[in-house]
Structures are given as structure tokens and as C-alpha cells.
């Protein structure tokens, strides 16, 4: 669903985290947010998902989400946020338990999400028994089970090692091909940005403003092809040019609060 962010600002006490962010996101689009550490990316995602009240501005959704979408704005978390006392199946089923839907539909949704993320054989395992990559698959399955209209991902791969990250990125792309949801994806990893994004939004250092919006004209499905490698490398270089100075300055700032 199309998401509209209109002059959103946010302050934590006296610290201005975001200032006048404007962004329109099209239905089914994947927008990747990058920017120096502490520039307000997580804050913006929290505001979009309704977990934080912006100091100023509004975020709105065009149209009504489809009825089967039980939780229109759904997060996938960096630290997975799994309940360690629940099995994989019960973690994935958690968002459905308080919804008034038939038990068969509930079990069907869980089974489908487990199958889609390759977790069917691990349904009875507990999170501590799983590797980081498998844990994040549980996080993804739990998000898909509610058929989100907008998926909000805050550095979903950054707690993983490089190889697992690569594998899971491929899986995410495969899943996304079948997911109509609009995706807003925060990352520090420019390779992820170049690989996943329809558009990359570069935020300035704190207080975050939209510094540049970069559309990547290679279709997402074709980006693994060797003939596009040079173009994607150029995109990454361009993104790095945009954030390097800001990142260096942000890094030298004192962290207050």
C-alpha cells in the first residue's frame, strides 16, 4: 500500500533526531533507508509503524488494507525478538492468537509461513537451538503470517555473519517476489541497498533529513546477473560518496543520552 510521510520531525527531549522528512512510497515498492549511525533511521521506522509518536508531521496509508492483512504494519527486528520459551511454531503463531480467525485458518497460515521460510522441519525447535540465520527466518515467518501491507525491516541481517547474510538476502528476495507488501528497509550495508532497493533514500546525519533519493533502474530480479555487476558497483560507490563525509563526522560526535 502506498505510504506517505509528510514533514515528519522527531525530538528526544532536546535531541533532534529527525527534521522535516518527506517521502512518498508506492504500493509494493522497496525503499531502503541508509544514513550515518544515529541519524534517526530506527526512529523513522518506529514512527511509520505507530510505535513512536512523531513530534511533528504525519504518516498515512492510502486506501484500506486487504481484509486478510491482520497487521498492516509489521516489523522484522534486528535482534529477531523471538520469545525463547516458545517453540518456532508458537513464535510464528503468536500474532494470530488474539485475532478472531478460525483455528484451521490460523494453522494454515502458520504452516504456509513455515514452509515459505524453510522452517517446517524446525517447527518444534526452540530459538536457542537455532543458528542466527534460522532465528531470523522465524522472525520473517512471524511477519508473513499476518500478511502485512507494509513490512518494516530494521537492519534485519546485521546481526548475522557475512555468509549467512548473503544466503538470507537471497531468500528474502525469493520471498519478496511473492509478497505484495510495500517494504521499508533500514541498513548500513550498501551491498544490501544496491541489491534490494527500488529506491535508496539517503538521510543526512542527525537530525536526519532526506539528503538524496536514488532510483536503481535495474529490475530487482535481474540484479544477480553478471552484466549488471558494474552498474550496481557504481550505485554502491555513489551511495558511499553520499554518506562518507557525514558518517565520518557523525562518528566523531559525542554520543549524548
Amino acid at each position: 500500500m502506498p505510504v506517505h510521510i509528510e514533514s515528519v520531525s522527531h525530538r528526544y527531549g532536546t535531541v533532534a533526531a529527525l527534521e522535516g522528512v518527506d517521502l512518498d512510497i508506492a504500493d509494493g515498492e522497496t525503499v531502503v533507508l541508509i544514513g550515518p549511525s544515529g541519524c534517526g533511521k530506527s526512529t523513522l521506522l518506529g514512527i511509520i509503524g505507530g510505535l513512536l509518536k512523531p513530534s511533528d508531521g504525519v504518516v498515512s496509508l492510502s486506501g484500506t488494507p486487504p481484509v486478510e492483512s491482520l497487521n498492516p504494519f509489521t516489523y522484522i527486528f534486528q535482534d529477531f525478538a523471538l520469545l525463547p520459551w516458545r517453540s518456532v511454531r508458537d513464535n510464528v503463531g503468536l500474532p494470530l492468537e488474539h485475532r478472531a480467525i478460525p483455528a484451521a485458518d490460523r494453522a494454515g497460515r502458520v504452516a504456509a509461513a513455515l514452509a515459505l521460510t524453510g522452517l517446517t522441519d524446525f517447527a518444534d525447535a526452540y530459538p536457542r537451538q537455532l543458528s542466527g540465520g534460522m532465528r531470523q527466518r522465524v522472525g520473517i515467518a512471524r511477519a508473513l503470517v499476518v500478511r502485512p501491507a507494509v513490512l518494516l525491516l530494521d537492519e534485519p541481517l546485521s546481526a548475522l555473519d557475512a555468509q549467512t547474510r548473503q544466503l538470507l538476502m537471497d531468500d528474502l528476495l525469493a520471498i519478496w517476489g511473492r509478497e505484495p507488501a510495500t517494504k521499508i528497509y533500514v541498513t548500513h550495508n550498501l551491498e544490501e541497498a544496491a541489491r534490494l532497493a527500488d529506491r535508496v533514500v539517503v538521510l543526512s546525519r542527525r537530525p536526519g533529513r532526506v539528503r538524496e533519493v536514488l532510483r536503481i533502474d535495474v529490475p530487482v530480479a535481474d540484479r544477480a546477473r553478471p552484466e549488471h555487476a558494474a552498474r550496481l558497483a557504481e550505485v554502491q560507490r555513489r551511495l558511499w560518496d553520499l554518506i562518507r563525509d557525514e558518517a565520518a563526522t557523525a562518528d566523531r560526535e559525542m554520543v549524548d543520552g
Partner: protein
């Protein structure tokens, strides 16, 4: 080519190594030494009975029903006292973990009253409830209440914020967040608190029984001391040790069962 020398080994030494028989050997050695000291007259029986005498006292007093009667009297105080204190402490502690108002009003009061040695309140409680059972049960309940409230509160407080945000992000109602995220997440801390409150309950039980009771292990130990029956006295102390061990054994099982996901 330079000479090759193997690298000298510097690790090891501090790694824990399982030693299954050593604890029993140590116990037997201590008891053996004690028995020898008694038999040779090094330990006068008036001050310290021999292990064999204590054993005999335990057997005789069990057989004639003395020990069971005292244990029953003690458990009839300790169990209700612990249960009442725990129930009230959990209610207050969890409320402070959930509601800001309960936290703001309750935490200073609980923290201020927590350090009072609760046995000091026994005279007051005797004035309120009389010299009988209720004042002893109330002392134990009070002693258990405060540490329970504080450990339940900090257990709730230590549940990762991100799990609660996760629940909110999926639209879980507040009651569901409490039931499915906060309470299970606080369980390890709450159960760890039980170990502390069990020992508090045992301590207050003995103290209260020494202040005024006819039956109960504390009263039994005190009477034995007054009559200089050191074998009975040490037998009573041994009972307390066994009771404490049984409680901690039971709590260990409870923990392993409740926290079997760990």
C-alpha cells in the same frame, strides 16, 4: 635452520573437573574426625555430642513422635507464611513492573521497609494478633513479602524492552503482552527470588519459635539448650539443615521444569 623447540604448555589448571566421590569423602572425613575427637575425650560431650549420639537422638526422637510433632508445627507456620507473603509480594511486585503509578508509589515504600529485620516487628504483631500462630505466620509472611516484591519487580523490569515492542507491533492487547511476554520473561528472576525467600522464611520461623512457642523446631532447639541436652540440640539443627536442603532441592526441580525452554 634454527633449532626447533616445542611451545611449553601454559593452559589448564583452573578448569573445573568433575570429582564425583570427593564430596562424600569430605563428609565422611569430617564426621570421622568429629567422632574420633569425641571418643578420645577431646570434645567434652557437654559442649559437643558425638555424631553417633546425635544419630541416636534423631532415631529415638523420630520413633517416639517428638520430631514429627515439632516438624509439623513448624511447617504449619512456614508454609502458610511463605505462601501469603509470596502471593502478596508477587501481586505488588508485578503491579510495580507493569504500572508506572504502582511503581512510583510502591517502590519507595517497599525499598524503605525492606531492610527492617522483620523479627523486630514480632512484638508488634503479637500485640495485634496475640501470642499464638497468626503472629508467627504474619512475621514470616512480612519477611517473605518484601524480597518477593522487589525481585518480581526487577524481574519484570529486566524483560527486554524489545520483546514488549514486538508484542505491541503485532497489536497484542496489553493483557496478552503481560501474560505471554512479561510474565514468562520475568519467571527466571521470580524463581531465583523464591530461593532467597525460602531461606528468609526458615530464619524467621526459627527466630519466632524461639521467642514463644511450645512446639516447632526452633522451640525444640531452644529447650534442648536450656536443659543442656546437646545431642537433642544438634539433632534439631541437623533437621533444619535437612529441611533447607529439601526446599532447595524442590525449588531446583521447579526451576528446571518451569524454565525447561532454557
Amino acid at each position: 635452520m634454527a633449532e626447533r623447540r616445542p611451545i611449553p604448555f601454559r593452559g589448564g589448571g583452573f578448569d573445573p573437573v568433575p570429582r564425583p566421590i570427593v564430596p562424600w569423602l569430605a563428609l565422611v572425613a569430617i564426621l570421622g574426625l568429629w567422632q574420633v575427637a569425641s571418643s578420645t575425650g577431646l570434645l567434652p560431650p557437654l559442649f559437643m555430642p558425638s555424631p553417633a549420639t546425635v544419630m541416636r537422638a534423631l532415631v529415638d526422637l523420630s520413633a517416639d513422635g517428638t520430631i514429627p510433632r515439632h516438624i509439623e508445627a513448624s511447617l504449619r507456620r512456614m508454609i502458610p507464611g511463605w505462601l501469603i507473603g509470596t502471593a502478596a509480594g508477587l501481586a505488588v511486585g508485578i503491579a510495580m513492573g507493569i504500572f508506572s503509578t504502582a511503581r512510583a508509589s510502591g517502590l519507595p515504600i517497599v525499598s524503605a521497609l525492606f531492610p527492617i529485620p522483620k523479627i523486630a516487628l514480632l512484638p508488634l504483631l503479637i500485640l495485634w494478633f496475640g501470642i499464638g500462630e497468626p503472629s508467627k505466620i504474619a512475621t514470616i509472611a512480612l519477611g517473605v513479602f518484601f524480597p518477593t516484591a522487589i525481585s518480581a519487580y526487577s524481574a519484570c523490569d529486566s524483560v527486554p524492552r524489545n520483546l514488549i515492542r514486538m508484542g505491541q507491533s503485532f497489536g497484542l492487547p496489553g493483557a496478552d503482552i503481560v501474560r505471554k511476554i512479561l510474565l514468562p520473561g520475568a519467571m527466571p528472576g521470580i524463581l531465583a527470588g523464591f530461593r532467597i525467600t525460602a531461606s528468609v522464611a526458615l530464619l524467621l520461623l526459627v527466630a519466632a519459635e524461639m521467642i514463644g512457642a511450645e512446639f516447632g523446631i526452633g522451640a525444640f532447639v531452644l529447650q534442648a539448650g536450656n536443659l543442656m541436652q546437646t545431642d537433642h540440640l544438634v539433632a534439631g539443627v541437623a533437621l533444619l539443615s535437612i529441611l533447607g536442603l529439601l526446599i532447595s532441592f524442590g525449588l531446583g526441580h521447579l526451576e528446571r521444569w518451569v524454565l525447561r525452554w532454557r
